[in-house]
Amino acid sequence: MGNIVNCYLARFKASLQIDSNIKESVAQELYTHLKEKSEELKEKGFSEEEADRLAVQALGSPELIARQIYETHAQGSWQEALLAALPHFTVALLFALYYWQNTFCLSVLLMAIVGMAVYGWHRDKPIWFFPWLGYYLFPILVSSILLVYFSPQIGWIATITYVPLALFVVIYIVEQTMKRDELYALLMLSLLPVAFGWLLSPGVGDKFIRSDIAMVQLEAKVPWIVVTFVVLAMATVAFVRLKQRQHKIAVLLIPLIAILFSVALTE
């Protein structure tokens, strides 16, 4: 097949930001289609270049096909949307019921997070898996920050050993996710501004750093914490259900606004 077809397929692939397996499969399908159409036209007496040009013309805009294919694969089911939002709803519930300091509840949540993250990683990384992966990364990041802060007491060797390893794991996971789709990385990391927003908010951040983590007092801010996690959960549901990329990006900005607004109100 000539340059016309290769150029067409390159434009298609460049316009389709989706799982690489799906992208390659659809591109191969289009290639087969173009090849058969072009062969048929050549049998009718057209030159190779003319046949390729007509085949490509009949298939239509590669950008439009890429957009329609994206919209088909980008929209998750309601089941996937709820599963994706489940960790955020669970955290909101833990705060609403004042169970956020209950060791048993936190242990169960931690086990669920690890279980879902490992399960999703080995099941082709479905869309619902990425918010769980965000929660999986969160303790790694928090422990790194704590190690840096408390390194004079704990020892620099532990810090020098652990922090680069933790950063490597986080960067590796983010990179792998971005290869799949940059928006999935955004979905995964959408937890961080909300969680760190509260952890480092004035009044909380000082206590958090000065005293033991278990003693962090957030009671006065609990209603707002619940609200921000519910907003994050609802934004996650919308993200999974929406079809267009720009809408997905826009919906993930809502929790950011919510955390800024809530932290400012509770200051």
Binding site: V26, E29, H33, G60, I65
Partner: protein, 111 residues
């Protein structure tokens, strides 16, 4: 012209399911069959076929499988699923009722 396009858009799934139900088939053949069986009436913009096929596959109404042909070429054949057959039967029944009702109004029988 736009009216035909609108009608076609609303019935694309039904047409594709009907063709795939007859025999497992692939993209290019579907385009040709649609044109041939409708005597050129249905002229799909070819590129719109693949998003439609992928949408049906995502809804588990059809299933796509790559097949290696003796000449070394690969084709993705689509098979109808059990769920697809049920949906098709429902849609055909609805379509028949609908077209009968439209005919009864457009061409009323003189009693």
């Amino acid at each position: 012209m736009n009216y035909v396009r609108e009608l076609l858009k609303g019935n694309t799934d039904c047409l594709l399911l009907s063709l795939i139900n007859r025999q497992p088939t692939y993209g290019y053949q579907i385009i040709k069959e649609l044109e041939k069986k409708s005597s050129g009436y249905f002229q799909f913009k070819e590129g719109t076929l693949y998003p439609a096929l992928h949408r049906l596959e995502k809804s588990k109404l059809i299933k796509g499988e790559w097949q290696l042909l003796p000449n070394g070429q690969q084709r993705r054949y689509y098979y109808i699923t059990e769920k697809g057959q049920q949906v098709l039967a429902n849609r055909l029944a609805t379509w028949q009722d609908f077209s009968a009702a439209v005919r009864a109004i457009i061409h009323p029988k003189i009693s």
